[in-house]
Point group: C2
Chain length 111, copies 2
């Protein structure tokens, strides 16, 4: 699973979707669905990468990178993803915020 | 500490700095410095919010939100932050990537 990796360079002009969430208690199928969504997102046209972290206190941040708005819209409307979004609101998330941002520059370090 | 909260709405045109990192083993003063940096960032002019998660496997994502490039540059050059950046490269991080992005739209959910 790609949740323990830094996503590769997205490139100037790419879109980043920052999904920040607070989980409810318990798993209730969450972990399996989250893993499946990462796998499915990776098959979408225009997908550039994903990185994800969740701390033990329940706050998680997932950033996915996309070529353009059309790619984001197609993923948001993907059938399995729609079902996961509904389950997320009904069971898994106390709150979340989504921010769609355009990459202006990026740099990195490897020790 | 604000690491267990979702940052408030940043607003269209704000800048998001996505800092994704892989830690080395052990603490070595990291946790205390990280907390202090969150506190100091919050005192900077143009700071809009921060959210942060690190999973037990060592991957962390911190997103800070800023009014403009000038605010980001001033924070990057802040003296205590410069020292922390140097210690980060020398001791705390195996790798990191920084992406500066402009917020185009955002939305949220509260259950």
């Amino acid at each position: 699973m790609s949740s323990h990796r830094i996503a590769p360079a997205a490139g100037r002009g790419a879109l980043a979707v920052i999904f920040t969430s607070l989980r409810t208690a318990g798993d209730g199928g969450y972990a399996q669905t989250a893993e499946e969504m990462v796998r499915l997102a990776g098959e979408q046209d225009g997908f550039l990468g994903v990185e994800s972290a969740r701390d033990p206190a329940g706050l998680g941040i997932t950033v996915s990178y996309w070529r353009d708005e059309a790619a984001i819209k197609a993923w948001k409307a993907q059938a399995d993803h729609l079902a996961a979004q509904a389950a997320g609101k009904a069971r898994w998330y106390r709150a979340y915020r989504v921010r769609i941002c355009r990459v202006e520059r990026e740099y990195g370090f490897e020790g």
